[in-house]
């Protein structure tokens, strides 16, 4: 198959999976937050509210698209477009798995591999500030402007520790290509950057995660859209699909940060223990266990309707477990499982933190970035550099 067609196919596949993930990440978030707060969460549209994302999309599409008076029209329209296109671009350099051969075609799992992959990602994410800043400025609304100002200052401040934390794994792997970094961490959990000798990046990972929360404007760093102070911050004036674009961009950024953490620190698609010790059968066991639990609760239902939905879910889990045993699909699915498991865990932590922590005050936010996070990231970088240099001798 020629290169162009293959790339088109892969791009379509990644885009479809990414957009579905975005829609359902929001559902997962609402469910998890609801259970943290002892509520039910969405439960009306479809079983367990599973069709809620679709309903939300229809709702947002059919809302009135309002253009407030006295706005800078060009920039007002440009901002959401910029936000969503930049957020979706960054997924292009993330590697999801090794080079595979399927139906006689050899290809890498992932859209592309740049030799400056990580710099590309940092560049694209640093441009994301403009979307927020321009949205706030062009809206002709003081709350929007305040949100945009806070956001620019916050994102510029936290980009520094983020970039410094990224350098640690780069030093260990000795390359800027994300695929190269992931391949360096093959083996077991001891070879992941977070635990790799000579310089385990535990501290770097922590700094990266905290700065990642701030870069994606999530609680406890969601001051750009602090509801009780700024109405909705920089996107106060946006409605309909333009509002949805900002929403999508936020979730796309979360997905990217989680994938990046997986690739840089958590060993990418490599399993926790080597395949020679049977890690290829972990996904089968996990999905069979899920099927067993679903079937058990289907046989002893807590609510009458669980008698149908839970066994159905159990059958689906069992079929997925079966797919991992098909020899043709196994080399594709097993790396994807590990990658998805790690990135999914990171996403769950993002939601968990939102359900747990209150918002920072603005001066605390800035003091934390410059007084704590930046020195820690710097010290981590120096120590990593020293250890790597000594080890190489």
């Amino acid at each position: 198959m020629n290169f162009f067609l293959l790339s088109l196919l892969k791009a379509g596949l990644v885009a479809a999976v990414l957009l579905t993930t975005l829609a359902y990440l929001q559902w997962v978030e609402r469910k998890v937050i609801a259970h943290i707060q002892l509520r039910m969460g969405p439960s009306r549209v479809g079983p367990h509210g599973l069709l809620q994302p679709l309903a939300d999309v229809v709702k947002l599409l059919t809302k009135e698209d309002l253009l407030p008076p006295h706005v800078n029209k060009f920039l007002y329209v440009l901002a959401p477009f910029l936000a969503v296109s930049l957020a979706l671009t960054s997924i292009a350099v993330i590697p999801f798995g090794p080079e595979i051969e399927i139906f006689g075609v050899r290809t890498e799992m992932g859209l592309t591999d740049l030799n400056i992959g990580i710099l590309f990602l940092l560049g694209i994410s640093s441009l994301g500030v403009y979307a927020v800043a321009l949205a706030g400025w062009s809206s002709n609304n003081k709350y929007s402007l305040l949100g945009a100002l806070r956001s620019s200052a916050q994102m510029v401040s936290y980009e520094l520790p983020l970039a410094l934390a990224v350098v640690g794994p780069l030093l260990l792997a000795n390359t800027l290509s994300l695929r190269g970094i992931a391949e360096q961490q093959a083996g077991s959990i001891l070879n992941w950057s977070i635990l790799q000798m000579p310089a385990p990046q535990l501290l770097g990972f922590l700094v990266f995660a905290i700065a990642g929360f701030a870069e994606t404007n999530r609680i406890p760093f969601d001051l750009p859209e602090a509801e009780n102070e700024l109405v909705a911050g920089f996107h106060t004036e946006y409605s309909s699909m333009k509002f949805a674009s900002f929403f999508m961009a936020e979730y796309a950024n979360i997905v990217t940060i989680c994938c990046l953490a997986t690739v840089l620190f958590l060993g990418g698609w490599h399993p926790v223990f080597p395949a020679s010790m049977g890690s290829g059968y972990v996904p089968v066991l996990v999905f069979l266990a899920a099927a067993g639990i679903a079937l058990y609760h289907g046989v002893n239902p807590a609510r009458p309707k669980d008698r149908i939905t839970l066994p159905a879910a159990g059958v689906v889990f069992a079929v997925v477990a079966g797919l991992f045993l098909v020899p043709v699909l196994k080399p594709v699915l097993v790396p994807l499982f590990w990658f998805g498991a790690k990135a999914g865990t990171m996403m769950f932590v993002f939601i968990w933190v939102r359900g747990t922590l209150p918002r920072f005050r603005y001066d605390q936010l800035m003091r934390f970035a410059w007084g704590w996070l930046f020195p820690v990231a710097m010290a981590n970088l120096l120590a990593t550099g020293l250890l790597v240099a000594l080890w190489a001798k």
């Binding site: 400056i116 560049g123 500030v129 800043a133 321009l134 100002l149 620019s152 994102m155 980009e159 800027l176």
Partner: protein
């Protein structure tokens, strides 16, 4: 494929550069400057300088221009008032003279610089991060360190100026 892309992004760079001067509002001008930076980054990429392209994007478009925009928004700078009474001579001769000046410069460059020194598309392969780092820390160590000291002095100056305001 290189030449059409070069023409496209060179045209974008020039158009953004002209727009930068023509626009009256500071935010529009700053955005045009970002357009110039982005187009330049693509031109670096076309010439094989990947690291430089990424650095251009991260440093200029991602950091410096954000600060520009931030300051413009913080000061809430309004649009510039255009004065109508431009000298007639400047209006008539400005653009032709500019074209002539640029023409002379490009002619001189074409004549004086030997063709062995010009870069061709795909002819340069040492633009990766490793190559650039090696060059920077071996061949150009002194200018590199001198530039770092210069930046350090600028930072110290900024701190001194900032402290004065607080007291």
């Amino acid at each position: 494929m290189d030449v059409p892309l070069f023409l496209l992004f060179a045209a974008i760079a020039v158009a953004c550069g002209v727009n930068l001067v023509v626009q009256t509002h500071p935010v529009s001008s700053a955005l045009s400057l970002i357009g110039v930076m982005g187009a330049l980054a693509v031109l670096y990429l076309l010439l094989g300088a990947e690291f430089l392209a990424a650095a251009q994007l991260v440093v200029y478009a991602g950091a410096i221009m954000v600060l520009f925009i931030f300051v413009i928004m913080l000061l809430n700078a309004g649009g510039e008032k255009k004065s109508r009474n431009r000298p007639r001579l400047a209006a008539a001769l400005g653009i032709p003279l500019l074209m002539l000046f640029l023409g002379i410069i490009s002619f001189l460059i074409q004549r004086r610089v030997p063709s062995s020194m010009t870069v061709t598309f795909g002819g340069f392969t040492g633009g990766g991060p490793g190559d650039l780092g090696r060059t920077l820390f071996t061949g150009y160590l002194l200018p590199f360190e001198a530039a770092s000291v210069l930046v350090l002095i600028a930072i110290l100056g900024a701190v001194v100026l900032g402290r004065k305001e607080i007291d």
